[in-house]
Symmetry: C2
Subunit: 367 residues, 2 copies
C-alpha cells in the first residue's frame, strides 16, 4: 500500500498517555469508528453553532468596527497591515473568541505561518479562555488561585489538529474555543481558526489538558472547587476532532526511519511551568523529518500524545518513520504519512517523551 490505512480492528483502544484519567471519558474513543489519519472526523462547527446561535463565522462588520478612527484614512495604503486583536466571551461564557494578526516573525521561509505559530495561538486562546473563566490567574503561574493552593498547574496531554490553509504575514484571524469534560480529570479544548477576511475555517483542533503537581511533577485529580468552576463553562458536545487513539505502530517503525540524536533544548524553550513548552516538542520532532519533506510538503493533520516533561538539562533523540512502502521519500506523492517519536538520549533511560503522527500534503507550487 502507498499510505498507511488502519482499520478499527487494528486500533489499540486504550492508548492514552494518562489512562487513569483520560480513557473513562464519554467523549473518548468510539468503538468501531474509523481512525484513518486522512479521515479524522470533524464534528462540523457550523452544525452546532446554529443550535447555539453563536456567530461561528466571523462578523466582518465587527472587525471593521475596531477603532479605525485612530488611523488617518488619508494615509491608508492598500497594503497596510490592519493589525488588531480583541477577545470576548459569548453564549453565557461557554464560547471564547479572540482576534489577532499573523506577524512577520511567525512565518517561515515559505512566508506562511509555521505549525508552531498555530500551536502558540491555540495555546494562548485556551489559556485566555481559562483566565477569563477564573481558572487561571496572574500571580499564580499557569493556574487558578484554587489550583495554586494544591500546587497544581495545567499541562497538555494530547493535541489533534487539521490545517486546511496556513495564514500569511498580516492576515487577521479569529480563534474560537469551547471546552468539554474529558473523563473526570481531563478537559477537552476545541478550537477553530477562521480567516477574518473570507470567513474560511483554516484550522480545527482538539487538545486535552490535565493537571500536574508542580512539586511532585506528577499528574493530579481535579480539586472539587476547580471542577465546579469548569462545569459552569463546559459545552456538552463531543470533541471537534474524533480521537485518534492509535499507538506507534511497531510493524511500521523500521520503514525508512530518520533519526536526529543529541538534541538540546534552549533557554527560550522553557515556559512559565519551568519545563520545555509543549509547542517546542513539535520543533524537535521536525528536526528528524527529512529536508525534502520539510521543503516540499506542509502538515495537513497531526496527532501528538505527550507522555513526559523535560527541561533544559535533558538531551533528546527525535525519530521519524515515513509510512510508505517506497524507500525513496523524494517521490512526488501528493500525501506523505509519518510517525514520530521523541525520547530521552540518556544512558539507561530511553523513556518516551512524545509519540505522534503527521500527514503531509504537497505545498502549492510543488504539485
Amino acid at each position: 500500500m502507498a499510505f498507511m490505512i488502519t482499520t478499527a480492528s487494528s486500533i489499540t483502544m486504550n492508548s492514552s498517555p494518562y489512562p487513569n484519567y483520560m480513557t473513562s471519558s464519554k467523549f473518548g474513543c468510539i468503538p468501531g469508528a474509523m481512525h484513518e489519519h486522512e479521515r479524522i472526523k470533524l464534528k462540523q462547527a457550523s452544525s452546532w453553532s446554529l443550535q447555539f446561535k453563536a456567530p461561528m463565522k466571523v462578523n466582518a462588520t465587527k472587525v471593521d468596527a475596531i477603532d479605525w478612527s485612530m488611523v488617518d484614512p488619508k494615509k491608508e495604503s492598500p497594503n497596510m497591515v490592519s493589525d488588531l486583536r480583541v477577545e470576548r466571551m459569548i453564549h453565557d461564557d461557554s464560547i471564547f473568541q479572540e482576534i489577532f494578526c499573523i506577524r512577520l516573525y511567525e512565518v517561515g521561509p515559505d512566508e506562511t505561518a509555521s505549525i508552531e505559530t498555530l500551536m502558540n495561538h491555540l495555546q494562548e486562546t485556551t489559556a485566555n479562555h481559562m483566565k477569563k473563566s477564573g481558572l487561571m490567574h496572574d500571580g499564580f503561574g499557569f493556574g487558578s488561585e484554587e489550583m495554586s493552593k494544591h500546587n497544581l498547574t495545567w499541562v497538555m496531554a494530547k493535541i489533534q489538529m487539521i490545517v486546511d490553509r496556513y495564514p500569511i504575514w498580516g492576515d487577521i484571524v479569529q480563534m474560537e474555543t469551547w471546552k468539554a469534560a474529558h473523563g473526570k480529570n481531563g478537559v477537552c479544548c476545541n478550537l477553530t481558526l477562521h480567516d477574518c477576511k473570507t470567513g474560511e475555517i483554516l484550522v480545527r483542533a482538539s487538545s486535552y489538558w490535565v493537571m500536574m503537581n508542580t512539586k511532585t511533577r506528577k499528574l493530579s485529580k481535579f480539586p472539587n472547587e476547580v471542577r465546579a468552576k469548569l462545569e459552569q463553562i463546559y459545552v456538552d458536545k463531543p470533541p471537534l476532532i474524533e480521537q485518534d487513539t492509535r499507538t506507534w505502530s511497531k510493524s511500521e517503525e523500521k520503514i525508512n526511519e530518520h533519526i536526529c540524536k543529541g538534541l538540546k533544548p534552549r533557554w527560550s524553550d522553557l515556559d512559565i511551568n519551568q519545563h520545555v513548552n509543549n509547542v517546542k516538542y513539535v520543533g524537535l520532532i521536525l528536526e528528524s523529518v527529512p529536508k525534502t519533506i520539510i521543503e516540499n510538503y506542509e502538515i495537513h493533520s497531526m496527532t501528538l500524545d505527550y507522555y513526559r516533561e523535560f527541561t533544559k538539562d535533558n538531551i533528546l533523540q527525535s525519530f521519524t518513520s515515513i509510512l510508505t512502502n517506497n524507500s525513496d521519500e523524494t517521490s512526488n506523492y501528493d500525501i506523505v504519512d509519518c510517525q514520530h517519536l521523541l525520547r530521552f538520549d540518556i544512558d539507561g533511560d530511553n523513556s518516551n517523551i512524545m509519540k505522534g503522527r503527521t500527514r503531509w500534503r504537497l505545498k502549492q507550487g510543488n504539485k
Copy 2:
C-alpha cells in the same frame, strides 16, 4: 577592576561590520564620547517629542477607545486579558505606533517577556513601518517592489537595546518608531516600548538596517528610487542610543570564558529571507551564558554586531566571556558585564557571525 570600564581613548572607532556603508554616517560614533556600557547615552524621546508635538506618552484615552463594545461589560473580570493591537502613522508618516499584548508563549520561566520577544516586537514594528511607507510589500518577500527588481532584501546589521523593565503576560504595550539615514546605505530605526497602563518607557533601541542581494547574498547600495522613498520619512535626529563601536576586546577574551560547541539551528529559526533570523542569534548566544547568570540576572543593555548570515546547514560555536576580575561568577554582583562571540564550527572556517556585549542586572527577588 570589578567591571569593564572603557574610556574614549580605547575605543576602536571604525568597528562597524559593514565599514563601506555604515561608518560614513553623520550620526555615527561621536569622537570623545564615553562609551561605557553602563552609560549608553539616551537621546531622551521626551525632549524631541515636544518639538514635534508627537504623543510620545501613551494616550490612555485612545487605548480605552478600542471597540470595547465587542466585549460584554457584565462578563468582564478584573483579571481579563485586555488584548488588542492597532497601528497608526503620525506626524506626516515619520512616526509609527503599534499597540499589542504580551502573550503566554512569549514569557519565560520567570513569567516576564524574553529578550527574544522584545526583539521580535521591535522587528515587527520596524517591518510594519516600512510596509506602511511603501518600502516593503506583500508578495515581494522582505522588501519593496523596487527592491524586488534588484533582488534586494532588508537585513539587520546592528542593534543596541536598553531594557528598563520587562513586561509580563497580558501587559498591553505600545511600540513607537522613527527612522533616520545612517550613511548613504544604512537606515537607523529608533524604537521605544511603553507600558500602556503606566506610560512608563520599558525599552529603548536603535537598530541599523542594510540591503542584501538575495542572489549573491552580498550587501548592496540603495537603489535611488528606494532612497527617495526613505528620505520622505527620515527624521533628521541622531540615534536614540548613541552608537557603541567597541570591538571584542582580545585582552579580556580569556577572562572566565564559557563555550558551547556544536550548536545547530532548527527549521523554526529560518525566516522569510531563507536564513536564520537575527533574533535567533540571541538565543544561540544565551546558550553559552552560565546558568547562574541566566537564572539570577536579566539583560539590562545589549549591543549586537551582525557580520554574517547562516542557515540550517551550519554548525556553530557560542562564546561568552564574563568581564570581571573575579573567577567566581556566582558572586552576588549587582551588575555583570559579558562579551559574546558566535562563529562557525567548521573545519577551516571559524569566521565570526556575531559579536556582542551584554550588561546583566540582578533580577528582582535576588537582590
